[in-house]
Structure formats: structure tokens, C-alpha cells
Amino acid sequence: MPETDPNSDVGLAVRFDEAAVRLGGRTIWSGVNLKVDHGQFVAVLGPNGVGKSTLIKVVLGILPVAKGRVVVLGRPPGDAGRDIGYLPQRRNFDPSMRVRGIDVVRLGSDGDRWGLPIPGGSSFFASRRVQRQRVDEVIDLVGAGSFAHRPIGEVSGGEQQRLLIAQALVRHPRLLLLDEPLDSLDLPNQASVAGLISEISKEHGITVLIVAHDVNPIVSYLDGVVYMAQGGAVSGLPDQVITSETLSELYATPIEVLRTSDGRLVVVGQPEAPSHHVDRHTGHPH
């Protein structure tokens, strides 16, 4: 991420200065510095349990920082709520959930309003009409038109993910926070959802912060990466960060980054949180 005047937040979507988070008396990470420009597509990488989701929750304003300063869209985190679209880490919807995809998308638009919507209100109120159009628009944008009217529990994981991206987009966010949107998708779906996210970011100038296990499906679209380790993080251009030198220094242990003949990145020797199984992660030799 290009350096600007170190004390200026202009042009920055997200900024961390020496930020630290403590949860239940344990420091999750500290000394994290981060600058994300508007419109950039940035990945948050690192092994399990290192605090990637925690970082997303700090940006959202759900978790406070113990030390340091965080600025999101020029405001303290939490004040930018309406301008942020969020897709949490999840397993799939319960197959017996009898709620349509379009209803889930619509909740992104008015789910936090109290009171009941007036039946047939869209024929009287312009705002309801606009809202309805916007829901259709984002469903088209993510290519969910053909399955948005089916119960969300019955569509595939990739289709659910598209609907949830639509839900996150429905309020015209300036910043999109995606927590492992590619996890639990098969490879073709990983590629197409990654392409979709990049397209949305580029065409609508939306800043995207995406948590990922595997950098490979997204690496060609990325403007920057944040690599997290127990304690801290490094950020910068993908080519600068995902290197043997940088990662060895970050983890204080020898790590090798290999590039396969088809351009995939493989990180060898990355420390893993012991309680998790291994082959989900980037980088472990397959």
C-alpha cells in the first residue's frame, strides 16, 4: 500500500496505528499497523487462531482496541456502520431453513428497523420502491436471479455465498468486510466468487477487506495483503509480503515460499495452531 502523509487519513479507508486487542486477558495481537486505500482489494492472511476475524470485528467496531488507534472511513470504528457491508465467517444455512434468499438479502436493507412494514407499502412509498429495486439490483449483480426465490437452505454453498454478498452490498457500502467467503466452497466456485468480489470492488470503487485461508484463488486480484502472525502483522504488496524473507522474519522461524509452475503460491513451514487440521491452509504442501 503506497505511503501517504503518515498523519493524514484522507484517502484511507482503514487505518491501524500500533493497534492491540486483548480478549479475556490474552493479547490476540499488538503493534499492528495497516493502511488500506479507498477502492483497494486487500486480503488478511495467516494461520488459524491468529486473530484475522478479530481484526475484521475491530474494523466493524464490535471489539474495542486495547491500545493504539483505528480509523475506519475517517471515523472511529463503529461510527461507519451504515457504510460497511459485512459477511461473517459461517457454516452453511440449515437445510430446513424455510426462508427465501431474497428475504435474507432484504434483511440487509431493512432488517434492523423496528415495527412492521405496511403490506403493499411499495405502491405508496417511494422509499420502499427504491429499496425493492435495490434488492433486485444486487441480486442481479451477484448473478443470483435464478435461485433467489428458493429457500436459502436448499441452494448450494456457492449460491448462498453470492446471496450473502448481495445482502452485504444492498446499502451501497463503501467498505466490504468478508470473513472467509471462499471457505467451504469447491474450487470452481472459489474462483468465480473471487472474480465476482474483485469485479464489484473495481467497478463500484468499494474497498474490500477479505479474510482468507488460501491466497491462491484471489492473489491475481489483490492490491495488498496483511499477513498476520501470533503477536503482529506485516502488510504491503503481495509480492513483497508473501516471500521467504518477510514470512521467516514475521514468524521467527525459517519459512519458504515456493511458486509452482502454474503460478500457485505454496508456503512451507508456516506454524499452525496445533488444534486445527492442516490441509485447509494455504500453503501446506499438498
Binding site: 460497511i84 431453513m97 428475504d103 434483511l107 431493512d110 432488517g111 469447491d186
Partner: protein, 307 residues
């Protein structure tokens, strides 16, 4: 039970006329209708939130509540509501997280509360001296001797609960379907869950008074489960739920009037029948669609060999 003075005479007009000439039957229909609307609306959310077990427990708890109230010579209505609301608060204190682990913890606590409540109920009934008919009424429902005052109480509580539910409806739906995103949007997920349990407690206490403590599911679960089979549109399935609950209640009261068996049996039977029809209907429709769109639906997952 021999309150049907002339019995069933195969003349619907006369039968209905005869039924409604009796004040206690009019009150039974009033109370039943109030309870049906309330149970439908609250039950719809309960089924969607997968809190049926909690709902059942809140109803079971109303049994010792009512039994204790009768034993102490207080109004049974107060016993029903008091016990259910207290139990709702107890269940609400169990931490609930989205991780799923807290769910099993919640069901363990709920199961414990439920068993203890039933035992207490049995104790209070025998302390009272075991007037057996009242025991059957408490457990399996009765529509006899509902006073004007009771109807008024049921009505006021129902209006209150429905008003609160109306205000909370959308955020509650959001928190139910998608708790993490709702929380990120500053929807007070935890507070909503506590308030909903209290509303559920009130509804369970009301339903218990008609169907009996053990058969509340017939109005709390069955109409909602059937409606959610019929349609996945939220507003539509909520409306269908309330209609089904009303139809079940009216049919049951009508039949129970000419029969010697407890009303709770009929409510459950009609509810069960509707669920079976709805579920079978949906299966048939799904099959039909699958056949229309050619052969069996393609598997969604593409297997990729190890890379």
C-alpha cells in the same frame, strides 16, 4: 362430560345454534380464538428460531404453576403466567452463542427445568388432595368454565404480546436468520432473545389453559410448521400460521362439544393432520418440479481431485 343437552343431531345449523346458546361455549370460542392468534404468531417465530423445546418447557412449567395456585387458593391464571415467565427468565440466563455449543447446554438446562417442573406439579396436585378431573384438565386441556374475567385476561395479555412482537418483528427475524450480520448492524440480538423468551412464556401459559400443559405444541408448533412447509415467504407463512391455528381451534372446540374426550386431543389431531397434509403436499410438489425440469437435480458439488 354431558354438557351437550340435546347431543349431535346431524344438522349443522341447529348444532352450532345450540352450542352458542351456552355462555360457556361462547367463552370457550372467545378464549380459543385469542389463544390461537397469539400461539400462531409467537409459534411461527419459535419454530423458525428452533426453540420448540424451550416453548414446550415453558408450557410444562405452567402446570406446577397452576397446580400450586389452585392448592394455595389463588387464581390458576396467575399461576400459569407467573410460572412460565419465571421459567422464561431462567432459560434466558443461559448464555447462547452462535457457535452451536451453547445450544446443547441450553437444552440440558431446559430439560432439567422441565423434569423438575413436572415433578413439582405432581407434588402440588397431591398436596391439594388429588381432585383428578382438574389434573386431566391441567395436563390435557379443558374448555369448561372459562369466565368472562379469564377471557379478558387472555385478551389483554395477547394484545400486549402481539404489540411487542409487532415492534420487534423485523429485527427479531433478522437475528433469527442471520445473528452475526444482525449484531454487526447493531441489532440487540441478546436482548431480543430474552424478550422473545418472555413473550413465548406468556404465549405458552395462554395455550396451556386451552390445550393443557402437555399439548401446547398442537397450537404453538403444528400450525407454524405446516405453514412453513406450504410457503417460504415470511409474511405469507405467518398469515397462514394464524389462519391454521384458528381453524384448528374452532374445529376442535366444535367437535369436543359433542364428544366426551378432552379438547386437547382434538386440537393435536387436527394440527397433526394439517402438518402431514402440508408436508406430503410439499414433497409431492418437489417431486413434480423435479420431474418437470427433466431428470433428478444435478449435484451441486463438483469433486476435484487432490491438487
Amino acid at each position: 362430560m354431558t354438557m351437550a343437552t340435546d347431543g349431535f343431531v346431524w344438522n349443522l345449523g341447529d348444532d352450532v345454534h345450540q352450542m352458542f346458546s351456552l355462555h360457556f361455549m361462547v367463552n370457550a370460542f372467545r378464549a380459543g380464538s385469542i389463544v390461537a392468534v397469539l400461539a400462531g404468531a409467537v409459534g411461527w417465530f419459535m419454530v423458525l428460531r428452533r426453540q420448540s423445546f424451550a416453548g414446550h418447557t415453558l408450557a410444562v412449567v405452567s402446570f406446577p404453576g397452576a397446580a400450586a395456585a389452585i392448592w394455595l387458593g389463588v387464581s390458576a391464571t396467575a399461576g400459569y403466567f407467573g410460572a412460565s415467565i419465571v421459567a422464561a427468565l431462567v432459560i434466558a440466563m443461559v448464555p447462547r452463542s452462535s457457535s452451536g455449543r451453547a445450544h446443547s447446554q441450553e437444552s440440558a438446562v431446559i430439560g432439567t427445568v422441565q423434569a423438575f417442573a413436572l415433578a413439582c406439579g405432581a407434588l402440588f396436585v397431591s398436596l391439594y388432595g388429588g381432585f383428578l378431573y382438574s389434573l386431566t384438565g391441567l395436563l390435557f386441556g379443558t374448555f369448561l368454565g372459562i369466565s368472562n374475567g379469564q377471557v379478558l385476561t387472555l385478551g389483554l395479555v395477547a394484545v400486549g404480546v402481539l404489540a411487542v412482537l409487532g415492534v420487534l418483528a423485523r429485527p427479531l427475524f433478522f437475528a433469527t436468520v442471520d445473528a452475526d450480520v444482525a449484531a454487526a448492524r447493531r441489532v440487540p440480538v441478546r436482548a431480543l432473545s430474552v424478550i422473545f423468551l418472555i413473550l413465548l412464556g406468556c404465549a405458552a401459559a395462554e395455550v396451556s389453559q386451552i390445550t393443557g400443559a402437555l399439548l401446547v405444541f398442537s397450537l404453538l408448533v403444528m400450525p407454524a410448521a405446516a405453514a412453513q412447509q406450504i410457503t417460504a415467504r415470511p409474511a405469507m407463512s405467518l398469515i397462514i400460521t394464524v389462519i391454521l391455528a384458528l381453524v384448528i381451534t374452532w374445529l376442535s372446540l366444535g367437535v369436543a362439544y359433542f364428544s366426551v374426550y378432552p379438547v386437547g386431543f382434538y386440537v393435536s389431531t387436527f394440527g397433526f393432520a394439517m402438518y402431514v397434509v402440508a408436508a406430503t403436499g410439499r414433497l409431492a410438489v418437489n417431486r413434480f418440479h423435479a420431474r418437470l425440469s427433466g431428470d433428478a437435480p444435478l449435484p451441486h458439488h463438483v469433486t476435484v481431485s487432490a491438487r
